[in-house]
């Protein structure tokens, strides 16, 4: 850092020359790297001959990205960052003088979510809104809810759970199977799915909670896999890899149905044209309500003794025991509460898809949910919601980037790069904000003023 500020002081022209040199070097480096990765491709043609295909345009884009990127970083971004840092150091930070937007971010976000389907319908029409409400809205909100549920276990209680998707699966299959076999409605099965998932949370939690840290993580990972393997192999009940299909739709509290043939069909009752968009809008509000319930319960629980005990457990388990807190039941309640919200989300997932199979509950899902919690800032609801919107919305956005086909050829599918981008984004965020988007912690009680606790004091937990 020191020599950069020196060059900046000495001469501007010097800096540009240096940036050009480094940019050229980076270009050469990326040429060397990508000529084999991207530029050349060996394929077999119809006569089983090995043919060399070349992608010079794509290679040029990569090289240009490397060169221009390095040039911009050295010439502009670094001096700008240094200047900003110097300015920030010179001016003492004025706390509490946040903008209106920042202070009321959560209220504005909730208000926006409430009008979002209406906005989408107004802009894109009834059919056109489908994509925006379903692919973006519902998809993001499912992950927001899952991440908020996992946040109770990982963010508050500090128990690293790598098998969270198991509870999601329990919820989904509870709804799928019970509704098919017993014809129970969604509104009965939603709480039941939550209770069943919580029950599984306790069953899984009881033997593993004497483990700590890495060991706990490995065992929860294994339990997630066990649930998935049971779903695959218990074919009489779960139909194995074929999955359960034809799961009944939810109704508006039994008053209006979304089945096309039903006499009390929603669209018929209101004299609207037949479209699945209304069902999606209903589902959107349903998952929004469920997610907000999760947030509300989390906020309330944090101010209750059990929530404080969770956070204390994350900070220091031995101290907790010395204060008369039964750490086993405290951990179990965290596990069960987190699992319950996973179960709610699972039954919603089954209703939305109309089809569940073990493929939806692979480890990758757990990893994505955990990544959202970590990126958002452990324990922070707003940060996690933002992280979910960026991560899930971002990968959905990739599908929209069809113009990239013009650069990389018609075979290029941007969705396939989502994991790469996901990884890069994680690295960038962890370097830029090691504690996630919102690293500070809101205290649950105060005497004079509510001061956020800096992330440098909070611990991640080892249990």
């Amino acid at each position: 850092m020191a020599n950069i500020s020196n060059t900046q002081e000495s001469a501007g022209g010097n800096l540009t020359a240096r940036a050009l040199r480094e940019g050229l070097f980076a270009g050469l480096l990326s040429l060397g790297l990508f000529v084999l990765f991207v530029g050349l491709e060996t394929t077999q043609n119809i006569r089983n001959e090995l043919v060399l295909k070349t992608h010079w345009v794509a290679l040029a884009v990569f090289v240009a990205l490397g060169a221009v990127g390095r040039f911009l970083v050295v010439a502009y971004v670094r001096p700008w960052m240094a200047a900003r840092k110097a300015a920030a150091a010179a001016k003492p930070a004025v706390e509490g003088d946040e903008s209106f937007l920042k202070r009321n971010f959560s209220k504005i976000a909730i208000a926006f979510m409430l009008v979002y389907p209406i906005l989408a319908m107004a802009i894109f029409g009834v059919q056109g809104s489908l994509k925006w409400v379903d692919n973006f809205g519902i998809q993001i909100l499912i992950y927001v809810m899952l991440a908020w549920g996992l946040n109770i276990v990982v963010g508050l209680a500090g128990l690293l759970d790598l098998g969270y998707v198991a509870f999601y699966a329990v919820g989904a299959y509870s709804y799928a199977l019970l509704s098919q076999h017993f014809g129970l409605s969604f509104w009965i099965l939603l709480p039941l799915a939550g209770i069943l998932a919580a029950f599984w949370g306790i069953i899984l939690g009881f033997p593993v909670l004497r483990l700590k840290g890495d060991y706990l993580a490995i065992v929860t990972l294994a339990f997630g896999e066990i649930i998935r393997l049971v779903l695959i192999n218990w074919t009489e009940v779960t139909k194995g890899t074929f999955g359960v299909s034809g799961i009944p739709k939810a109704s508006v509290f039994g008053i209006w149905s979304f089945d096309v043939s039903a006499p009390n069909n929603f669209a018929k009752a209101f004299g609207l044209s037949m479209s699945s968009a209304y069902y999606k809008v209903f589902l959107f509000y349903l998952i929004l309500a469920l997610a907000l319930l999760t947030a509300y319960v989390t906020i309330r629980l944090r101010r209750m003794p059990i929530g404080r005990a969770w956070e204390a457990l994350r900070e220091d388990e031995i101290a907790c025991r010395s204060l008369g807190i039964n750490t086993v039941t405290t951990k179990l309640t965290a596990f069960a509460t987190g699992a319950m919200f996973g179960g709610f989300a699972g039954s919603f997932f089954a209703v939305r898809q109309g089809f569940v199979s073990p493929e939806s509950f692979v480890f990758l899902e757990s990893a994505i949910i955990l990544a959202i919690v970590v990126l958002g800032g452990m324990g922070s609801l707003v940060g996690i919601a933002v992280a979910a919107a960026l991560m899930v919305g971002g990968t959905e956005l990739l599908r929209e980037m069809q113009f990239l086909k013009q650069i990389f050829g018609p075979d290029f599918t941007p969705e396939l790069y989502r994991m790469l981008i996901f990884g890069v984004a994680m690295v960038v965020v962890m370097v830029w904000k090691p504690r996630g988007f919102v690293g500070s912690r809101e205290p649950t009680a105060f005497l004079k003023e509510r001061k956020a606790v800096s992330g440098s004091f909070t611990k991640e937990g080892h249990g």
Binding site: A312, A445, K451, F457
Partner: protein
């Protein structure tokens, strides 16, 4: 039995000769081949400040961990008798039950605060069991019943009381990890007191304190004993603290008790002096002989 005890407690609560609150009998703790504590017995009287001293590695913290349930002793019996005469066998209880039911609280040699929680929150966590009951094990509290809100208000008042005593009221809303070292020590004691203990175990409360802070600590400990009637057992190296405030001193060396009595008695005990100052190997027998002679003469005079 019980009514007699009650009378005894009420008449002798504030005298030096109070009834035993904690009785440790034949305590032994073995770690593999190492006998950390060997047949150690002592009594702490109600209302007293009892000090447990000894050279490094003597087994003081092990005794503490046995009393507070963090270790299960290999042998021995630890009896805690509450004011109402209820008795608890601590060696049979889990660590959290010892604090919750037997009302024995403790602090740690290396401070264990919830550093990411504010000072006030630290004290509220300590009142977990009271608040848990008031919130109907969370269920009633979630519904927002007034009973919990009232209990939460009372918990904050208790916290405020101890913050004032520990001179931490100004920093109530700061993270505990942000406090200076001495304040963290006082906060840990305040936090232990928030569990409402009858017997408080302090593991080196004065370690790392400067003389002024150590004076303030003495004052805090005295006021704890005076106002809440809590008996105190402390491990300490700082002799100014030990001699100043303790009523009763027990000396431990190599897991065995070598002296037990008033601070003055212990200070002049040749065994203690030998243990602390150390003697050359070839002088050991001489010293032992000397000690035996002294003991004989003491025995004669008694």
């Amino acid at each position: 039995m019980a009514p007699e005890t009650n009378i005894a407690t009420s008449t002798m609560a504030n005298t030096m000769t109070g009834d035993p609150i904690l009785k440790v009998e034949h305590l032994s703790m073995r770690f593999g081949g190492l006998m950390a504590i060997n047949d150690f017995s002592f009594e702490a009287r109600r209302g007293d400040i009892t000090a447990l001293i000894g050279p490094n590695g003597a087994g003081k913290t092990t005794v503490f961990n046995c009393i507070t349930g963090f270790y299960k002793p290999t042998m021995g019996m630890i009896t805690m008798r509450q004011k109402e005469g209820k008795e608890f066998l601590l060696e049979r209880m889990a660590d959290f039950e010892i604090t919750r039911d037997a009302k024995v609280a403790r602090t740690f040699q290396n401070i264990r605060l919830f550093s990411g929680l504010t000072v006030l929150e630290n004290l509220l966590v300590a009142q977990h069991n009271v608040l848990m009951k008031a919130s109907g094990y969370t269920i009633l509290g979630l519904l927002g019943l007034p009973a919990y809100r009232q209990a939460a208000g009372e918990a904050i008042d208790v916290a405020k009381h101890w913050l004032e005593k520990a001179h931490l009221i100004e920093r109530a809303d700061d993270p505990a990890g942000d406090l200076p070292y001495g304040a963290q020590r006082r906060l840990e004691i305040a936090r232990a007191m928030c569990t409402g203990p009858e017997f408080l175990c302090l593991d080196e409360p004065a370690a790392g304190l400067n003389p002024r802070e150590s004076l303030a600590l003495n004052e805090l400990l005295r006021s704890i004993r005076q106002d809440s009637g809590t008996s105190i057992l402390l491990i300490e190296h700082d002799m100014s603290v030990v001699m100043e405030i303790s009523d009763h001193v027990v000396v431990l060396e190599y897991g065995q008790k070598i002296s037990d009595g008033t601070p003055d008695h212990v200070k002049n005990d040749p065994k203690v002096i030998a243990a602390y100052l150390g003697v050359e190997d070839d002088e050991v027998e001489e010293v032992i002989e000397e000690i035996e002679e002294i003991e004989e003469t003491q025995g004669d005079t008694h």
